[in-house]
Structures are given as structure tokens and as C-alpha cells.
């Protein structure tokens, strides 16, 4: 949590509030795909986020996501059986680098994030760790201050023993921009 707060303070410290170029809020949803994990299957996810852009090239985002994994299957002794894939809640912050303003038009950016990850699953101990993600995004903002966004994230959650859990996420979302303008 301290790391997440620090990221926000650093970003807002880069510029005064008067220089804010965009504030937006949005919802998104999409696919949650485990990477090299035989004990889970792909699921879906939903999220909420708020974005603050102190300059047209950098922004800070706070987000909350609720996701689930699909139930893995196994056949043994001729019996087909499944296991609970579990649910994930994550919240955190990310820095966007690229075209992060709120003007109409396409905006391409990269996101670097840090988040708290909690995976609750029947029969397993909860996994609660800090994770990291990186990925590109593209938002098309129309004159009505609405943005349609598609983005990908590759996330890694380090686990005990030097291993990690990895997931790829693909989201589509809609954002409302509060009309501050700016951007490239």
C-alpha cells in the first residue's frame, strides 16, 4: 500500500493541480488468462478506474478489479472432475506513459502498475501478494467526452520460494472525461 501511495505522490508532485490536463473515470471488463498455470483456466474480470493526468504525457490511475478464473478439469479413474478456479480482487495504481491527455482522438500509452492481489479459492490458502503489471493501451476519445478503450496487461505476482503467478488480461472499457482538455 505504501508503494501505491508513493507512486501517486510522485506523479502529483510533478505538476501543480492547475496544470491538470485530464480527469476521467471508467469501467471495463474482459478476459483473465492464466499463463503457464495448469491448475486454473481462463475467466473474466470487471474493473473501475479513475485517471488523473498532470501532463499530456503522463497520468496516474487508481483501479479496482474483481475477477475470476475458470474451473480446471481433470479425468482420473474415468471420472471427470473440476476444481474451483477462485476469485481475485485487486486494487492498485499505475503510471501511464504516452499520450494521456483528454482531447478527442486516439491516445496510445503504456501502463506500469503495482497492485495488491488477493486470490480466494476453495480448498487453497488465500494468496495475498503485491503484483506488478505492464502493458499497452489505446483509447479513442470522441467529442462527447466519452472514451472507448482497449488494453492489455501482463501481470506477475511473485510467490513464496522464488516462483510467481502470471496472468494476461485483455480489457475493453468506456471512460468519461471531465472536460479539462489538453493532450496531444
Amino acid at each position: 500500500m505504501k508503494k501505491i501511495v508513493t507512486i501517486f505522490l510522485l506523479i502529483f508532485g510533478m505538476n501543480s493541480a492547475n496544470a491538470l490536463t485530464d480527469i476521467s473515470a471508467g469501467v471495463y471488463g474482459g478476459l483473465n488468462v492464466p499463463v503457464v498455470q495448469e491448475d486454473t483456466k481462463s475467466g473474466s474480470g470487471l474493473g473501475l478506474k479513475a485517471k488523473f493526468s498532470p501532463s499530456p504525457m503522463i497520468a496516474a490511475v487508481a483501479f479496482f478489479e474483481s475477477r475470476k478464473f475458470g474451473n480446471p478439469e481433470m479425468t482420473i479413474f474415468g471420472q471427470n472432475m473440476t476444481l474451483d478456479g477462485g476469485k481475485v480482487t485487486s486494487y492498485g495504481a499505475e503510471v501511464l506513459l504516452g499520450n494521456t491527455g483528454g482531447n478527442p482522438g486516439p491516445h496510445f500509452y503504456w501502463a506500469l502498475g503495482i497492485f495488491n492481489y488477493r486470490w480466494t479459492r476453495t480448498g487453497f490458502e488465500d494468496l495475498s501478494k503485491v503484483g506488478y503489471h505492464l502493458g499497452p493501451g489505446l483509447e479513442l476519445i470522441v467529442p462527447a467526452n466519452i472514451g472507448i478503450e482497449i488494453r492489455g496487461k501482463f501481470e506477475i505476482i511473485p510467490t513464496d520460494g522464488g516462483g510467481s503467478r502470471k496472468n494476461a488480461l485483455v480489457y475493453v472499457g468506456a471512460n468519461y472525461h471531465f472536460g479539462l482538455g489538453g493532450g496531444m
Binding site: 473440476t82 506513459l97 480448498g123
Partner: protein, 172 residues
């Protein structure tokens, strides 16, 4: 400037993906030969995971054992209801149920099985029936241990046909 940022971050993402795919979470099935254990003829089963090709492929690169469970058939061959139990130890020298209870670690207790009846324990149920998971994980990481099949009540005669399911994170 933007081109440089994009290039640097694309390279960083590629390195992150390639580097992180260096580990993965794998599910290994290790079927035990069917055995019958009774209070007068207790069966002791040596588990050598190095005979399992999937385990062998990863044993030197294990980062963590994430879960171990037992699934399969349990048959109560006596008329009285009973609960099957699996105990483990790092030696195979305990020759009676009492010695097992004194020296080994109980890792699995089945629901009550009616007399002369059978029970199938599936993947999800098996997770709920495991006890002393840290000891079981450590045994799985070592790759070599002994299983003792006994029961809650005496006399007992239980047929075990089970598979160990081991979920581990390892270098690929």
C-alpha cells in the same frame, strides 16, 4: 521521444514475459498401485516420485509445492462402517497401526464409508480431507516417503486405489 518510450517499454514487456515464463505451475498425477490394508496385515507403500516422469522433469527446479491432495477409490471390505486414513512418514518401518499413530503424520481422513461399500473421493473433496498439509508438502518436495493405510476403527480392512495430485511451481 514517443518512439523511444514505445520501444523501451515494448522491450521491457518482452523481457518480462520471457523472463517470467521461466516458471510455471504444474499439476502432477502420481497413481499408487492398488493395495489392501487391514489391522492384521497393514500395507506400507513406498512413494518414490522420481519414478514419475512429470515430477522428474521438474524436481531440480521446484520453487514451491503449492498443493497436495489424494483422490480415488476407497473400499470398506468389512461390514462395519469406518473411515479410511492415510498417514505418511519418512521411513517404512512402522509395522502396526499403533506404531503408525505414535510416529507418523496423518494427512488424510475419509468421510464415513458404510460397511461393504465404496467411496470415490474427487479432486475438490480431496482438498477438504487433507490434514497436516505442510508435512505433506515437504514430503512431496523431498520426493520420497512412505504411506500407511489404516482406519479410524479396529478391525478394518480397506482397499485403497488412489492417486496423489501434486501442484507445484517450478522452473520450466
Amino acid at each position: 521521444m514517443k518512439k523511444h518510450i514505445n520501444m523501451i517499454l515494448a522491450v521491457l514487456l518482452s523481457l518480462l514475459i520471457v523472463g517470467c515464463i521461466g516458471t510455471g505451475t504444474i499439476t502432477i498425477k502420481h497413481e499408487l498401485a492398488e493395495f489392501v490394508s487391514s489391522n492384521s496385515g497393514m500395507e506400507i507403500v513406498e512413494v518414490d516420485l522420481t519414478t514419475n516422469n512429470d515430477y522428474n522433469d521438474h524436481k531440480d527446479k521446484i520453487k514451491s509445492i503449492d498443493q497436495v491432495t489424494v483422490i480415488g477409490w476407497l473400499v470398506n471390505e468389512l461390514p462395519a462402517a469406518n473411515q479410511a486414513q492415510i498417514w505418511i512418514a519418512d521411513v517404512g518401518t512402522y509395522s502396526t497401526p499403533d506404531l503408525v499413530r505414535e510416529n507418523a503424520t496423518r494427512v488424510f481422513v475419509s468421510p464415513v464409508i458404510s460397511g461393504n461399500d465404496s467411496l470415490f473421493v474427487n479432486w475438490a473433496d480431496g482438498l477438504d480431507l487433507i490434514e497436516n498439509l505442510p508435512t505433506l508438502k515437504k514430503a512431496a518436495e523431498n520426493g520420497h516417503f512412505w504411506i500407511y493405510g489404516i482406519a479410524e476403527d479396529t478391525p478394518f480392512r480397506i482397499r485403497f486405489h488412489v492417486t496423489l495430485i501434486i501442484t507445484l511451481t517450478a522452473g520450466l
